[in-house]
């Protein structure tokens, strides 16, 4: 019998909204240490780090834009997606009531906010995968509007940027996306890059790429090198925290390549802000573990 995980999912939502992952906090602290003392950049990062501490302590949202709740559910064969979705929706509505989340589901035609973060089957977004074994893994990413607005998709070849259908072309369009974003995505950011797919799958892959933790290298050595090169060069732009100038503009780049049509070569950039909110719930043998 499929257990009721509503309470566990509620805790996952609370954790994700209020407690920044350790690896992200560490990356921000390192970036802060590298900025000049008394610089705007340093004071911005100090403010951010203070806010992170405060939010965790008081269980308040790290950022007021708690974004689109995007769930990735890996569950055993035979479990019901409809039941899981129902539990997720109940947890999200309750989290909204408890003010862990801001009501963010707006009807695009009427402008009406639903008030409880439940929209259609796209809000919250839930992706399902069936896995072997009896462990359920639920990952939650909260992705805000600011970062989403500077996320973008290119088609290669790109004439303006002299970018062809190769990794050099990918480099150019990703750099262009970072330049165009300036500070508007709440830099310093993280870049999720999807290569290939149709337009939808391409963006999906870009967001999925973001899940690789900050210490995991890319299994593909060419992509690993490209990730490091993009991060290093993006920082040479000097855009800095909040786009107010500084040494750190991008904290990490994560690339995922998937298959594409012969006619299409999409490169999608899922720009993630400094408030990179992601956590995982692992449920096995009646016990819940949170990462």
């Amino acid at each position: 019998m499929q257990p009721d995980l509503t309470q566990e999912i509620l805790e996952l939502v609370r954790l994700t909204a209020t407690s920044l992952p350790e690896d992200v906090e560490q990356a921000l602290a390192q970036a802060r240490d590298q900025e000049e003392p008394n610089s705007v950049a340093r004071s911005v990062l100090d403010t951010i780090l203070n806010n992170v501490k405060m939010a965790r302590e008081h269980s308040t949202p790290i950022c007021q834009d708690t974004g689109t709740p995007i769930f990735y559910v890996d569950m055993p064969a035979g479990w019901s997606m409809r039941e899981m979705r129902r539990q997720i929706e109940a947890a999200v509505a309750e989290a909204t009531k408890r003010v862990y989340l801001r009501p963010n589901a707006v009807n695009s035609l009427t402008g009406k906010n639903t008030g409880n973060n439940l929209g259609d089957e796209y809000f919250p977004t839930v992706h399902f995968h069936e896995v072997d074994g009896d462990t359920v893994t639920i990952k939650l990413m909260l992705k805000g509007g600011g970062s989403e607005n500077v996320s973008t998709q290119y088609k290669l070849p790109d004439t303006r940027l002299h970018a062809g259908r190769d990794l050099e072309g990918v480099y150019k369009v990703v750099m262009d996306a970072v330049y165009q974003a300036q500070g508007k995505g709440c830099a310093p950011g993280f870049l999720g890059v999807g290569i290939g797919g149709d337009r939808g799958a391409s963006f999906y892959a870009a967001k999925e790429a973001l899940w690789r933790t900050l210490d995991e290298p890319n299994p593909d050595p060419d992509l690993d090198a490209l990730e490091k090169r993009i991060t290093e060069d993006a920082n040479k732009l000097g855009i800095g925290p909040m786009g107010l100038g500084g040494k750190t503009t991008v904290l990490a780049t994560r690339i995922k390549a998937i298959h594409r049509l012969p006619a299409s070569y999409f490169v999608s950039i899922a720009y993630m802000c400094w408030a990179y909110r992601r956590h995982t719930l692992i449920y096995r043998n009646g016990k819940a573990e949170y990462k």
């Binding site: 806010n51 405060m54 708690t66 801001r102 940027l161 002299h162 709440c186 909040m242």
Partner: protein
């Protein structure tokens, strides 16, 4: 860090320069996408007839915005059921979305400070020189920290726009911000854009 009292006078505005760190105290109002559209359509370009409580709200907000600060923010608010509102998370939203409207809004209401993140464009920069007014940049996502500077929620207008889009009237104390666009035509955003553009062209060979 300069302490600024709201309402702000023109002399104070003219004395502020891009890059100055400030600490704001007084009463301010939030307003973002829905509010700007409503203001422009109903009262400034008048492409729409005032309806319901529009006129009442307009009279009330005129007083708050005259010499005041408009904060681009969609807060997380507790106490919705009881009406005992408390700001829980209140960082800025990206201001550039209001660029088509802001110059007219600043002039119509005599707003002295527009606050948000990411800066605004040439139309707003021009209006800042004329009004005079400045753009205050609050730290994006420092939501819980900023909520602490909100002493009291004095009221809310147009809650039917949704919690993030309503006009929240708040009393703040020592709200930290940086002037990034001043009343003399200087914009930190423009200078960073130019500097990053040079490097970008060099790296991409374009």
């Amino acid at each position: 860090m300069r302490e600024i009292q709201i309402p702000i006078d023109d002399e104070t505005i003219r004395s502020l320069k891009a890059g100055d760190a400030v600490s704001l105290t007084g009463v301010m109002m939030t307003g973002r996408d829905a509010v700007h559209k409503w203001m422009i359509e109903t009262f400034i370009r008048k492409t729409r007839e005032p309806q319901g409580d529009d006129l009442e709200v307009y009279e009330a907000i005129k007083k708050i915005l005259d010499g005041g600060v408009l904060y681009h923010c969609g807060p997380v608010v507790a106490g919705l059921e009881t009406g005992e509102y408390k700001f829980v998370a209140a960082g800025p939203t990206t201001s550039i979305r209001e660029e088509p409207y802001e110059a007219e809004v600043i002039k119509h209401f005599n707003i002295k400070g527009v606050m948000g993140k990411g800066g605004m464009g040439p139309k707003t920069l021009q209006a800042c020189q004329e009004a005079p007014a400045v753009y205050f940049h609050a730290v994006g996502g420092a939501a819980s920290l900023i909520a602490q500077s909100v002493q009291k929620v004095l009221g809310v207008y147009k809650l039917e726009f949704g919690v993030p889009e309503a006009m929240w009237v708040i009393e703040v104390k020592n709200f930290p911000a940086i002037v990034t666009m001043d009343s003399h035509g200087n914009s930190l955003h423009e200078s960073i854009l130019k500097a990053s553009e040079a490097k970008y062209r060099e790296l991409l060979g374009v």
